[in-house]
Amino acid sequence: MANHEIVRSKSWFWEWFNWSGSSSTMLRAAEKKILSCLRTAYRGWYVDIGPVVGTSDKIWTISLNEESPKTPIVLLHGLGAGVALWCLNLDALASYRPVYAIDILGFGRSSRPAFSNEAQEAESQLVRSIEEWRREMQLEKFVLLGHSMGGFLAASYSMQYPERIKHLILADPWGFPERPVERISRAPMWVKVIAYIMEPLNPLWPVRVAGPFGQWLIEKTRPDIVKKFSPVLKDDTAVISQYLHQCNAQTPSGESAFHAMMQHFGWAKNPIVRRMDKLSPEIPITLLYGSRSWVDNSSWETLKQARSSSYINVQAITGAGHHVYADKSEIFNKYVLEACNLSDSIPHLTVSDIRSNIKTINEQQISLILANEEVESKAVQEQELNTSQTRSS
């Protein structure tokens, strides 16, 4: 694996004084440590996508099970995260099909060019970077899975390049609902003042301001994230917070792109609901959200109604929060695989294929598919997974 060091333009002061204690080597080490828990072999490399936003942009990509002839699945992470956070899902997904996980441009180990300040422009820049990446990777058609902000980008990408999408899977996506018209808020003055001061700042600024204490801050404020990964990482859970810190302590270019796309603390400037009609009805959608998630889930109903004539499967995962993929990884994986298999077996999913309506037929189909897979597959792990799945279904 070639070690590409991403050269960023820094002022002399910052070059001399590294307050946050971040470096791409440390990020690489943390990522490697997390991914070492994978049972499937993975390959990681930089995909050069040329001058999309900056002069020469590179996207960090990891791939598993590339040899499989099936439709690949592409994973887009959420804000402030990176490829390593999929570590609970990669194995299960890779046992059936090729998996590609990327650090979105401006995040993780990818290069961090300066994005536009315009919401529309920043969004299209990000989408274009994904498309350039796809062109470079020579993927014809794939299943696109996005979590949180990645879900927003996935939906936006599907609007622009519907021919590439086999199945769109959204895991608790951000940026769908319209911001409600605020009634006269009863919040006292001091709260408004705080909100006013915070608004122009990038969302994750405290991590950078804290500098060397950034990792400690993450550990203290988000012990839940670390806890989610403890089953696979066992003793060394500090590496998750280290990874998150390293991801976000660097130049926040992707973050500022996100900041440009949002308004009023986390509402999208151009919410997806507003332009649902642009999303081709051909594209089947599976939407998974955690029952405890704070993301406004009232918009899923409107989504369902808007696409009443096409395939959309909305599932709540009980006991999971916003990080559905990590909270209940097994159930999440099962749903994702189900959706992928369904897309593989039925080329054009329609509204009549929705699982809840004709549950029994689908179940049969899936078990059939799974049985076929069993014959094909060679790895022992895979078989284990399969049998467990057939049993549960």
Binding site: E182, S185, A187, I194, F265, W294, T318
Partner: protein
């Protein structure tokens, strides 16, 4: 399925709303373990002991009110939250509570010396349980300097280590902060980030920032009431979403939910089940039970509607109280440290004595210690009890008064929320007798008036429309020159007390009448009011208090005769019978001390007459 309540200080009122909902619509969920930290543990205990939630609410409101009264809020040195908590817990927790909750109630504590989280669930005695609850609600600096001991080890608030103790996968988490909990308010102001502080996920929304500040600084009763309602709504929504609303036919749904827990749980739910639907409908339209709401209403009204309060809301008065802070604070600090120090001293003394007694088993030593204690620190021992002594004095004084004026007694009985106070009623505006005369002439009007008078103690909602005329009442007040000097005095007296109760109502002349009740026992004993003023006050009491009894007597007679002929008055009658029952109870209560018991008996007979007639009209 287990329940877990997050610790949240004064926002714990949210849990009351949730508890009310669960008790009413999903009692089968309360059979398992309930865990909690800080106030959540207290709420859990109350839920397991099946305490009346109304009393619970009133306790919270009482503590909140006391905290709000001070200039420095709950951080005033003389505001002792632990003592208040202990007092109310002592009062309400049943004697066999530890048996009931052992193994079910899980209290989260933080051990002081290593900061580790401890969860206790076995309690040997009632005292043991109370101690654990108190330790779990101990916030350093806020509630005191030295953390309380539990089983010999010092503990502080469980919220510092695990604020939302989850016992297993199937725990329903309840938190008053918007975040990743099963039951929590859903804010719309933000869709971005949340932090996870000691296991409680809190979204960084504007509302949550505000709520966070309100953990230790209690909001006004109106806010508290809204929070409680929100809890009820959120819990209901949760039950609704998970098809957990209990009805005999759909109980199976719950069990499948627990077993599979994740995937196909909703499949077995039969949406056509009529019973279930009805239950849900009922659940969705219902609001909080009456008892809880009335207490809120009382607290809100007493906080908002008093003239004194109105005055105190003015910035100038606020500024004044802030300016006077430097003078008051040293005294306050002195008092608090004095009592606290002594309290601690006594604790350590008794502890030492116990230890010595246990080790030596020698009685002479004990006696000498005891003697020492008796002689040197007699004063010291008594100081912390001073306040209680004052309270006793007050009740004694009240007893004396009751013997003198039996009429006060009725008043005293009718308002259980204000028992601690002697009542002074001052009336501004038009004469009360005018109204009575008007009532005499018009029967229908009289009935209405009568109803209002009974209702004002329970539901003050109807009067809210009129309370927009506050400005009018202020003008009235300033016009009355005779009131001015009393007003000054009252202002002085009640500077640290909020009005116990207040109500507005509109009379014939479209003038707003303001009735204010506040605590002046202290002022009378301190001779702040002149003698004739006291007399005046008592007279006013008589005037005021004659009216409802007089009215009820007359309307009862009228209504009974009327109802024999007309069905149209059915509504009136129903209301009346309600009222007369109340009076009946009062009558029974008063019989022992009331010299006019003859009158009471006659009234009882009347009520007995009125109820069958009511029944009759209903049948027709």
């Amino acid at each position: 399925m287990n329940l877990s309540f997050a610790g949240c200080g004064f926002l714990g009122i949210y849990h009351v709303g949730v508890a009310v909902c669960f008790k009413k619509y999903a009692p089968h969920l309360l059979l398992d373990k309930i865990s909690g930290a800080s106030f959540g543990a207290i709420a859990a205990c109350c839920l397991l002991c099946d305490l009346p939630l109304g009393e619970f609410t009133s306790n919270i409101l009482r503590v909140a009110r006391e905290a709000r009264q001070r200039t420095l809020g709950p951080f005033s040195p003389s505001f002792n939250v632990q003592e208040l908590l202990l007092e109310s817990l002592q009062e309400h927790v049943p004697n066999d509570a530890h048996i009931r909750v052992s193994g079910k109630l899980h209290i989260s504590l933080t051990r002081v010396y290593d900061g580790k989280n401890i969860i206790v669930s076995q309690f040997s005695s009632r005292e043991d349980l109370l101690q654990a609850l108190l330790a779990s609600a101990f916030v350093p600096v806020f509630s005191g300097i030295l953390p309380p001991r539990y089983h010999g080890i010092r503990y502080i608030d469980g919220g510092f280590s695990d604020n939302l103790p989850t016992l297993d996968e199937n725990t329903i988490t309840v938190s008053p902060f918007c975040g990743e909990s099963d039951i929590c308010p859903r804010d719309v102001s933000s869709q971005l980030f949340h932090v996870n502080l000691s296991n409680t996920s809190i979204e960084l929304s504007r509302q949550n920032i505000y709520r966070f500040a309100r953990i230790l600084f209690p909001p006004n009763p109106e806010m508290l009431s809204n929070i409680c309602k929100q809890g009820f709504d959120d819990a209901l929504r949760f039950l609704h979403r998970n098809n957990l609303l209990n009805c005999t036919r759909c109980l199976a749904v719950q069990s499948t939910f627990v077993v599979s827990e994740t995937l196909d749980d909703n499949m077995d739910y039969d949406p056509e089940c009529l019973e279930c639907k009805m239950h849900r409908q009922e659940a969705l339209v219902s609001n909080l039970p009456e008892t809880v709401m009335t207490i809120f209403q009382d607290a809100i009204d007493s906080a908002n509607k008093g003239i004194i309060n109105w005055l105190f809301k003015h910035r100038s008065v606020k500024l004044l109280s802030l300016l006077s802070l430097p003078c008051i604070l040293p005294a306050d600090v002195m008092y608090a440290t004095f009592t606290n120090l002594i309290g601690n001293k006594i604790e350590s003394y008794t502890l030492e004595y116990n230890i010595i007694g246990n080790i030596l088993h020698t009685s002479p030593q004990m006696i000498s210690c005891g003697r020492h204690n008796m002689t040197s620190s007699w004063f010291i021992l008594n100081v912390p009890k001073l306040r209680r002594n004052l309270l006793e004095l007050r009740t004694f004084f009240l007893d004396q008064l009751r013997m003198l004026f039996p009429k006060i007694n009725i008043y005293y009985q009718q308002m259980p929320q204000t028992i601690k106070c002697e009542l002074d009623i001052t009336e501004y505006g038009s004469n009360i007798y005018d109204m009575e005369e008007a009532a005499k002439t018009d029967n229908l009007y009289k009935n209405k008036k009568n109803l209002n008078l009974t209702l004002q103690y329970n539901k003050l909602q109807p009067w809210k429309e009129h309370s927009s005329n506050t400005s009018n009442c202020v003008i009235n007040m300033s016009n009355l020159s005779t009131v001015d000097d009393t007003f000054e005095n009252i202002l002085q007296v009640t500077s640290d007390q909020e009005a116990v109760m207040a109500y507005y109502y509109m009379d014939d002349n479209n003038k707003v009448q303001v009735t204010e009740i506040f605590d002046v026992t202290d002022s009378e004993s301190h001779a702040m009011l002149s003698l004739d003023e006291i007399e005046n006050n008592t007279k006013l009491q008589f005037d005021e208090w004659d009216e409802p009894t007089w009215l009820s007597q007359h309307t009862l007679n009228d209504a009974v005769t009327e109802s024999l002929y007309t069905d149209a008055n059915q509504q009136n009658l129903e209301n009346l019978s309600e009222m007369s029952l109340e009076d009946d109870i009062l009558g029974v209560l008063n019989i022992s001390s009331d010299p006019e018991s003859e009158w009471e008996i006659s009234r009882n007979i009347q009520t007995r007459v009125s109820t069958p007639s009511n029944f009759q009209s209903e049948v027709n």
